[in-house]
C-alpha cells in the first residue's frame, strides 16, 4: 500500500511539475537590456569544447570582450544533438539571458525557432543556415544574423589550397578528409579536388562533387581522375587505424599532404619527421606558428580568434534596440574569408595582429560597429582585411 501511495505521490509531483512548466514565459518578464547599465547576458552554444580554435574563440569572449563591455558570456557543455541544443537555449531563457550565439550546428532551424519562442536574440557565428532556412527566418526580429565562413567560402578555401600546391608543381599528393561527412569538411575536400584539377566520379562542378562525397561518405580514390596531380593516398576520421593510414600515405612519398582540418592537431610531429610538406585549414595558434616556422607546415588557411567579434557587435546592437538590418529589413548574412599564410612571416603578421589583449577586432574597431550602424558600414567593417 505504501508503495502505491509513494508512486501516486511521484506521479502527482511529475504532473505538478508539468503543470507549472506549461506556463509560457511572459515577454514582459524580460527587462529590456538597453543602455540602462544592465549587464547583457549571452549564452554560447558549442559543439566543440577542446579544439584550439574553439578555445581561442572562448578566450576572446571571456577574457577580452567581457572585460571591455558590460556583458556576460556563459558557455554550454559540448552539445551532442539537436535536443541538447534546444534544452540549452531553454535553460538560458529560464535564466534570463538576452541572446544566443551559436557555434553548434545539429539543427539550426530548431535553435532559431526556440529562440523566437522564448524571446531571445540569435546569431550564428560558425557556418551558416542553408538558403531555405535563411529565407524562412530572415525577417524575424530575433534573428540577428549569421557571420562566418559560408559553405561557398569553405569550398573556396579548399580550392585555393589545392591550386596552391598544383601551381607549386606538386605531382603527387596525399589528403586527409578530417571528419567527412561533416559538411564543412566535405565542401573543403571538394574544393581541394577541384583545385588540383581533378574530377570526382566524372564531375568537376562544386555541387556535383559535394553531392558525391556526401553520398560516398568520403572520397573514393578510384573515382578521382586528374591529369597533372595524382592523389596517392586518402584517409579520414580518427580511430585505431588512423596512424596506419597516415604511414601508408607517407610511404607513398607524396610531394605534399593536404588536410581539410585537424591535421595540425593530430599529425604535425609525424609529418615533420617524415619531411613532407603539409597544409591545413585551421587557425592561427602558437602551435601552428611553430609548425610553420620550424616544421613542414607550408600552407595554413585560418581563422583568428577575434573573427567572432562582429557577431558579438551585432548581437549587442540587437539587444540594445539598434539592430543591423539590410535595406529590406532582413537579418545580417555575411561570409568571412579565411586568411592564408604560406610562410612564417605571413603567419606572424596575422598572429601578431590578433594577440589576446590587442585582437584584430579590438574594442576600438568594434565600437565603430556598435550602436546605430548602417548595414553597409557593418558589412564593410567585417569585410575589411585587418591582417
Amino acid at each position: 500500500m505504501k508503495k502505491y501511495l509513494a508512486m501516486i505521490l511521484a506521479m502527482v509531483m511529475v504532473l505538478a511539475l508539468a503543470a507549472c512548466g506549461s506556463a509560457a514565459p511572459a515577454a514582459s518578464e524580460q527587462a529590456p537590456a538597453g543602455d540602462s547599465g544592465k549587464t547583457v547576458k549571452i549564452g554560447v552554444l558549442v559543439a566543440d569544447v577542446s579544439g584550439e580554435e574553439a578555445l581561442g574563440f572562448a578566450n576572446y569572449y571571456r577574457n577580452y570582450i567581457q572585460s571591455n563591455y558590460n556583458v556576460e558570456f556563459s558557455y554550454t557543455e559540448q552539445l551532442a544533438d539537436a535536443a541538447a541544443e534546444k534544452a540549452a537555449i531553454e535553460k538560458f531563457a529560464a535564466q534570463g539571458y538576452d541572446a544566443i550565439i551559436s557555434f553548434s550546428a545539429s539543427d539550426r532551424a530548431t535553435q532559431l525557432q526556440t529562440c523566437i519562442d522564448n524571446g531571445l536574440y540569435y546569431a550564428v557565428a560558425s557556418g551558416m543556415l542553408d538558403d531555405a532556412q535563411y529565407e524562412q527566418f530572415k525577417t524575424s526580429e530575433y534573428f540577428v544574423g549569421q557571420i562566418g565562413p559560408s559553405m561557398d567560402t569553405e569550398y573556396e578555401a579548399g580550392y585555393a589550397m589545392g591550386k596552391y600546391f598544383a601551381d607549386q608543381g606538386a605531382k603527387k599528393i596525399a589528403m586527409y578528409g578530417a571528419f567527412i561527412p561533416n559538411p564543412m569538411h566535405v565542401f573543403r575536400a571538394a574544393g581541394v579536388l577541384a583545385g588540383i584539377g581533378a574530377t570526382y566520379g566524372g564531375a568537376s562542378e562544386k555541387d556535383a562533387i559535394v553531392g558525391q562525397i556526401f553520398a560516398d561518405q568520403g572520397i573514393d580514390l578510384k573515382k578521382v581522375e586528374s591529369k597533372d596531380v595524382e592523389l596517392a593516398g586518402y584517409f579520414q576520421g580518427f580511430g585505431d587505424t588512423t596512424f596506419d593510414e597516415l604511414f601508408a600515405c607517407i610511404g607513398a612519398q607524396p610531394d605534399a599532404f593536404l588536410s581539410v582540418g585537424m591535421a595540425t592537431t593530430f599529425f604535425t610531429q609525424n609529418l615533420n619527421d617524415a619531411g613532407i610538406a603539409f597544409s591545413d585549414i585551421d587557425s592561427f595558434t602558437s602551435a601552428n606558428g611553430e609548425a610553420m616556422a620550424d616544421g613542414k607546415l607550408v600552407y595554413l588557411a585560418g581563422k583568428y580568434s577575434s573573427s567572432i567579434g562582429p557577431v558579438f557587435a551585432a548581437v549587442l546592437n540587437a539587444v540594445n534596440g539598434t539592430p543591423v538590418r539590410d535595406d529590406e529589413g532582413n537579418a545580417i548574412s555575411l561570409s568571412q574569408d579565411y586568411l592564408v599564410a604560406t610562410d612564417a612571416d605571413s603567419f606572424q603578421k596575422y598572429a601578431a595582429a590578433d594577440q589576446g589583449d590587442s585582437p584584430i577586432f579590438s574594442k576600438e574597431v568594434l565600437d565603430t560597429i556598435i550602436g546605430d550602424v548602417s548595414y553597409a558600414d557593418f558589412s564593410a567593417a567585417v569585410a575589411a582585411d585587418r591582417g
Binding site: 509531483m13 554550454t76 544533438d81 550546428a105 545539429s106 559538411p183
Partner: protein, 330 residues
C-alpha cells in the same frame, strides 16, 4: 529464535528504507532544485518544463526496458534503437508525407529491432547483452549512413516542424507517460507476466523447472522495451523534428543510471520495481540540472559529470544495503 526474529526485523527495516529512499531522494532533489532556481532568480516554471522535456523520453524508454532488466538481462542498444527508429520515421514521412505511416514505421522498427536482439540471443544461445552490443553498433552505423547520405549540408535529416508541433505540449507528454506507465504497471504488478519475469530474473533454474518458458518471456520483455523505444523515438521527434547522428546517444547508459537511481537492482529478479525508471530517471535529470546550475559552466567542463558519478556510486551503495542480506527476498 530471537536472533532470527531480530534479523528479520532488521531486514524488513532496511527493505522499507530502500523502498522509500528513491522517493525521498526525488522529493529532496526536487525541493533543492526549486530552492536553487528561486535563489538564483531564474524562472521556475520554465525550468520545470525543461525537466519534463528532458526526463520524459528517458522515463518512458527506461520503463519499457525494466521488463528486460527484471529478467537479469541488459540491453545497451536502446539508444541506438531510438535513433534508428526516429531516422526511419523521418525517411518514411519525407517519402510519403503520411503521419500515420511515420508512426507505423517508428513503432515497427523499434519493436522489430528489439525482437531481433531477443531472437538472435535465443537462436544462437548467446547472452542478450552480447547481441545488444552488436545491435548497437549495427543500428548506429546504419542510421549514421542514412542521416549523412540524406542530410547533405545540413548534417541531419528532418521533418517539417509543423507536423509534430501540435504534440510538443506538456499535457500530451504527461498523458503519454501516464498511460504507458499505467499499462506497464498493470502488466508488471497484476499479471503473471510480471510475476514470472521476476521469478526468471531471480532464479532462472527454478523458474524453468516449474515450466516457465524463458524465451517466451524474454520476447515479451523485448516487445515492451520496443514499445517504449517507439514512444521515445516519437517524442524525440516531437521535441526536435530533426535527427542527427548524435540523437539519443546518451539514452542507453542513462537508462541504467535511471533504474539504479530508482532503487532497482541491475540483476533484476523479485526486487525489480516498475516505478524505478520513472523515479530514477527524473531524479537523475533533476540532479544534473542542480549541478549545472550550481557549478559555473565557465569553471570547467565535466565537473558536474564527476559529481554525478560520485552520487551514483553512493546511491548504488545505499540501495544495495539489503541485497547483502542472508535472507531470501520477501
Amino acid at each position: 529464535m530471537d536472533s532470527k526474529t531480530a534479523l528479520l526485523k532488521k531486514y524488513k527495516r532496511r527493505q522499507r528504507l530502500v523502498t522509500v529512499l528513491p522517493f525521498v531522494a526525488l522529493a529532496v532533489l526536487f525541493a533543492v532544485l526549486c530552492l536553487t532556481v528561486q535563489a538564483k532568480g531564474y524562472r521556475l516554471p520554465m525550468y520545470l518544463k525543461i525537466l519534463l522535456n528532458e526526463g520524459v523520453v528517458l522515463a518512458i524508454v527506461a520503463t519499457g526496458a525494466t521488463f528486460i532488466y527484471t529478467l537479469g538481462s541488459f540491453d545497451i542498444s536502446l539508444g541506438a534503437s531510438t535513433l534508428f527508429s526516429a531516422t526511419v520515421g523521418v525517411m518514411v514521412y519525407n517519402a510519403t508525407g503520411n503521419f500515420g505511416l511515420m508512426l507505423l514505421a517508428i513503432f515497427g522498427v523499434a519493436i522489430g529491432c528489439s525482437l531481433l536482439s531477443s531472437v538472435l540471443a535465443s537462436v544462437f544461445h548467446i547472452p542478450v547483452f552480447v547481441t545488444t552490443v552488436a545491435m548497437m553498433s549495427v543500428l548506429s552505423a546504419v542510421a549514421a549512413q542514412i542521416i549523412t547520405a540524406n542530410g547533405g549540408a545540413l548534417g541531419g535529416i528532418s521533418i517539417p516542424a509543423e507536423v509534430v508541433r501540435p504534440f510538443d505540449v506538456m499535457w500530451f507528454k504527461i498523458l503519454v507517460l501516464t498511460v504507458f506507465f499505467a499499462v506497464c504497471m498493470f502488466l508488471f504488478d497484476y499479471t503473471k507476466l510480471g510475476r514470472r519475469q521476476k521469478f526468471l530474473g531471480g532464479n532462472p533454474v527454478c523458474a524453468k523447472l516449474t515450466g516457465i518458458d524463458l524465451n517466451k518471456y524474454a520476447i515479451l520483455a523485448f516487445i515492451m522495451a520496443g514499445i517504449g523505444v517507439g514512444i521515445g523515438a516519437f517524442l524525440t521527434l516531437v521535441y526536435t523534428p530533426s535527427v542527427t547522428t548524435g540523437t539519443a546517444g546518451s539514452i542507453g547508459m542513462n537508462i541504467l543510471v535511471a533504474i539504479v537511481f530508482g532503487g532497482m537492482p541491475i540483476s533484476g529478479g523479485p526486487r525489480s520495481k516498475i516505478y524505478a525508471a520513472v523515479v530514477g530517471g527524473f531524479s537523475y535529470i533533476i540532479l544534473n540540472n542542480i549541478l549545472k546550475i550550481l557549478i559555473d559552466s565557465n569553471a570547467g567542463y565535466g565537473i558536474s559529470q564527476i559529481v554525478s558519478a560520485v552520487f551514483f556510486l553512493a546511491v548504488v551503495y545505499v540501495t544495495g544495503m539489503n541485497y547483502r542480506s542472508q535472507l531470501l527476498p520477501r
